[in-house]
Structure formats: structure tokens, C-alpha cells
Amino acid sequence: MRRALITAGLIAVAVGVVSAHHSFAAFDTSAEKTISGTVKQFDWTNPHTWIWVDVANQKGSVDTYGFEGMSPNYLARRGWTKTTVKPGDTITVTYRPMRDGSNGGMFMTGKLSTGQVVSMSGLKITQ
């Protein structure tokens, strides 16, 4: 229940902000997926931040997933910086997948190998 409430809260926060720029039509907001990999690049850019994650596939290579996050102005006021997520970090991402099935979606939370959990509403340490 608590998890459901937290998730609902995150969606409410996300809806309030991302709707400034675009709708959620491209995301399946009823689904939540989790995936682990290595950060390839963190775009600290407008109108959205993007976290690109290389995820090992069954062919022995990697697929690159893109996760859309809030804009730098919004995140900076909640503790994020342009180096909160760095290339080479291992990360487990929860996200709302793309409706068209392509690799990526709307970023919800990321758990880094340091134990830090980063989300659109802020940063926290869990361990």
C-alpha cells in the first residue's frame, strides 16, 4: 500500500511537471518495468534530461535504453546536479515503458551501486 502511495505521488509530481512540455501519450503509464545496466551517458539538457543505459542482451552485446527525466531546472531544485548520474555507473532503473515497445521510457527511480536512490522528487540514500 505504501509503495502504491509513493508511486501515485511520483506520478502526480511527474504529471504536474512534464505536462508543461508534453503529454504522456508515448508512455504506458499503467506499467512499470525494471532494468539494470551501465550508464552510457547522462544528458543534463532541456527540455528533458536523458539517462542512456547499456543493457546486456542475449546476443552477448548491449542494447542502449533511453530514459526521459525532468528538466535540469526542476531537478537542480531537488538536489540533482549534472554529475548525479555518471557514465560507467551501474544503475537499476524503474520506468514507465514506451507504448511502442522501443527501448526506454519515462524515468521513475534509479538505484546506483553506491546505494543512492535517485528519483524525480529528489535524492535519498538507502542501505
Binding site: A26, P47, H48
Partner: protein
């Protein structure tokens, strides 16, 4: 018209010789007065110490203000004329999946004022400048006593003049681009006028009361209000939407996200 006064004197002198000319004198004087006002629009004189002292006596709007409750304008609903109501119903029956903001087109007035990102007020002699973080926008509100133009160009933020009524800044705005909307699915007509009243209600609290009239679209004035909170330790951030925009809406109204060229620049729009 290099020497307008000379021209006016000569013209008036000729006209006074006839009865019909006398009737025309008023019209010429009006035209000259309008031309003088138009010329005044482009004139900026150096502010004096007294001008700055007058600014110092105005309410303290300085700093960065964030609208409470995020974006949108859910609380108030406009009352529409039957024709506009029918248009809205048709829009809602098969709405596009997104707005043009997905392509980075800024929303313009009035919706730029209800974005979930903050804005900053700059008070200078004869002018209030509103720096809006969303889409890196700016509004120019002239408080030097000039009138609104008769036939303004149509702009995203319209043309604004302001005046102080006690501690309230009252801003009148007309002349909006047809690309802006009153709300989703409610386009405005050429007769939309917006009156905004800005006033401090606490040390770090401001209320903006907005009244939109548009006799061709609204059955009654659309009144809404926003409460803003000042964050004295904030600065306005950059928001260049075109920097790395992967979102889009196409001409059929379908929205999408372009994940091509991961970790590079998004491909240029076709």
C-alpha cells in the same frame, strides 16, 4: 514628416480658411497626437535619480516566484458561447495526443503564466519585465503611461501596458497570436483582452488575478487566480527547449518520442 510641427502648422493654417476645413482640424490633430504616441513607444529616455527613487517606493516584487500547485488551471472553467462550446466538444471528441509545446512552440498568453516553472519580476523606470523560466520567455509591460496600440501586431504574449493602482500592478494585454489558446481546445478570437492584477499578500506571497474577456468565445469573463511563492535563494534557470527535444507531435495529432541516435543529438525534424 521630418518636421511634423511645421507640417501641422501649415496644414491647420490652410484648413482654417474653410468651414469643412475647420471640421477636419480635429481629425488632423487626432492623427498627429496618435503619431506622437506611436513615436513615444520607441523612445527610451535615460532614467533620472527621481525615476529610480519612485521605483524604490513600489511594492517589492523582486526575486524568483513559483506558482503553487504546479501548472495547469484546473480550478476555474471558462463559460463559453454556444459556438465555442460546440468547437470544444468537437476537439474533445478526438483530441490530438499532445500540444505544439511538444515541438517546443511556447504556449504564449495566457498559458505561459500558469507553467509549473518560476518567473522573475524586474521593476525599472517605466517598465516591468517578467522573465519566465519555461521556454526562456520574457514579457514586456510598459508602465510609462503609453496607451495600448490601436492595431497591434499579433504576438504570443500580446502587447501589454501596466499601471499601479495603489499596491496592485494592473496589466492590460491585447493582440495575441492565433497560435495561443485560452485553454486546451479553446482558441481565442481577435477580441480577446486580458487584465491581470498582481499584488503582494504576504512577505513572500503574491496573488495574480486574471480576467480574460473575449465576446466571440467567452459567455462571461473568465476569472482565475494564481498564488505564487517567492524563493529568495533561487535564480532563473535556462530552458532552451530546442537543445535536446526528442518529443514531437505530427500533423495528424500523433505524439511520439524519438529514441534514434541514442546518447547523441536527436535527429533533425523532417
Amino acid at each position: 514628416m521630418a518636421h511634423p510641427h511645421k507640417f501641422v502648422r501649415a496644414t491647420l493654417s490652410r484648413m482654417r480658411r474653410s468651414t469643412s476645413g475647420r471640421l477636419a482640424v480635429g481629425a488632423v490633430l487626432s492623427a498627429v497626437f496618435a503619431a506622437a504616441l506611436a513615436a513615444q513607444k520607441t523612445t527610451t529616455r535615460a532614467p533620472t535619480a527621481a525615476d529610480w527613487a519612485a521605483v524604490a517606493k513600489l511594492p517589492d516584487f523582486t526575486g524568483v516566484w513559483e506558482r503553487s500547485g504546479g501548472g495547469g488551471n484546473a480550478a476555474a472553467t471558462p463559460s463559453l458561447t454556444p459556438a465555442s462550446e460546440a468547437k470544444l466538444k468537437a476537439f474533445q471528441a478526438s483530441p490530438p495526443q499532445d500540444a505544439e509545446t511538444a515541438n517546443c512552440l511556447p504556449p504564449g498568453m495566457p498559458r505561459i503564466m500558469t507553467q509549473p516553472y518560476p518567473m522573475e519580476f524586474l521593476l525599472t523606470p517605466g517598465k516591468v519585465t517578467i522573465v519566465i523560466e519555461a521556454y526562456t520567455q520574457v514579457r514586456h509591460v510598459y508602465t510609462d503611461g503609453r496607451p495600448l496600440p490601436e492595431d497591434p501586431d499579433l504576438e504570443f504574449h500580446g502587447t501589454s501596458v501596466g499601471r499601479w493602482e495603489g499596491d496592485t500592478l494592473v496589466v492590460d494585454t491585447i493582440g495575441f497570436s492565433p497560435l495561443t489558446e485560452i485553454a486546451r481546445g479553446i482558441p481565442h478570437s481577435g477580441r480577446m483582452k486580458i487584465v491581470e492584477r498582481f499584488r503582494l499578500t504576504g512577505p513572500d506571497t503574491m496573488v495574480i488575478e486574471t480576467t480574460i474577456t473575449d465576446p466571440d468565445v467567452l459567455a462571461a469573463p473568465f476569472v482565475s487566480s494564481s498564488t505564487l511563492t517567492r524563493h529568495r535563494n533561487w535564480t532563473i534557470a535556462e530552458y532552451i527547449c530546442e537543445e535536446n527535444n526528442r518529443n514531437f507531435i505530427d500533423e495528424s495529432g500523433k505524439a511520439g518520442i524519438n529514441l534514434a541516435n541514442p546518447a547523441g543529438r536527436p535527429p533533425a525534424k523532417e
